[in-house]
């Protein structure tokens, strides 16, 4: 199992991602806080994968539960990019803020993926690791 250094690196990239999100809200030329709703998508995104890993230990090549989890996770990721675009097209937020939020999204989702790759892989994934 990977150690402290990976954890520190991932928490750093997570902080950078949240910084981008907050810059998109709090900079003087933007000033509206609607983009913070993407935080809901950040929190929801690992849940389908956790549930499917918990429910089914089947590591064979076709596993319907895992594929459904990937489908739903992709949907949550797409939604977190779709929300700033819809807000910007409706002039609720500026396009510059939209760009910052989408950059923050990309960094956060790469961080979450990094968590799964570093800490979640292997046949003996079990809750005792926590």
């Amino acid at each position: 199992m990977a150690g402290i250094k990976a954890l520190v690196g991932l928490s750093f990239s997570g902080a950078i991602g949240l910084t981008f999100l907050l810059l998109g809200c709090a900079l003087e030329q933007y000033g509206v806080y609607w983009p913070l709703f993407v935080l809901i998508f950040y929190v929801l995104s690992p849940i389908p994968t956790f549930i499917s890993r918990r429910l089914s230990d089947d590591d064979s090549s076709s596993n319907a539960c895992r594929e459904l989890a990937y489908f739903l996770t992709t949907g949550i990721v797409v939604s977190s990019f779709g929300l700033p675009i819809v807000l910007a097209r409706n002039n609720t937020i500026r396009w510059g803020a939209c760009g910052l939020v989408m950059t923050g999204n990309a960094v956060i989702f790469l961080t979450i993926l990094g968590f799964f790759v570093v800490f979640g892989g292997g046949d003996d994934f079990s809750w005792e690791q926590w």
Binding site: A2, K5, S61, G121
Partner: protein, 160 residues
């Protein structure tokens, strides 16, 4: 700093697995992108044109039926339709075939309906804002193709 990246195992992640096993993952992700992009297109159109005169709210029915069709098509596995899965399920093989038939009919029907809405509701009456009609069409097209990719892009062979 010397061991900073030691914990990240790039070499022995699942990248070594051959494409046969990755196919299901890629198909699931592609289907997710298509399906949810379709819904965000219609959300965008609904936000930009909230007025009933510009975008009649009944046109949303098309996307809802397409989503129901997506769920119906993907609720049955190909194995249940062929009859070679371990359990019969609630409806049996014939029931699974009827369910799949109805699901595909709803899917094709909603795609045709979306084209009808675009041309009959927006192009022919020469409405000033055609974008809602285009959005309905693209929503249903994306949901339809997302359903196809999710159904046929994945393989159910348990051994490769």
């Amino acid at each position: 700093m010397s061991g900073f990246l030691d914990g990240i195992r790039c070499g022995d992640c699942e990248c070594n697995v051959d494409w046969g096993e990755r196919r299901n993952t890629i198909a699931s992700i592609a289907a997710g992108v298509l399906f949810f992009t379709g819904w965000w297109i219609i959300i965008d159109a609904a936000v930009k044109y909230p007025d009933q005169g510009q975008f009649h709210h009944a046109y949303h029915t098309c996307g809802v039926i397409a989503t129901v069709a997506f769920l119906m098509i993907n609720a049955v596995s190909n194995g249940q339709v062929r009859g070679d899965s371990y359990s019969e399920g609630c409806l049996g093989q014939t029931g699974a075939r009827v369910w799949l038939f109805i699901g595909f009919m709803l899917a094709f029907g909603s795609l045709i309906a979306s084209m009808w809405i675009l041309f009959g509701g927006f192009v022919v009456p020469q409405k000033p804002a055609v974008y809602p009609g285009i959005a309905v069409f693209f929503q249903n097209a994306f949901i339809f193709f997302g359903g196809l990719v999710f159904k046929f892009g994945r393989t159910e062979d348990l051994w490769q």
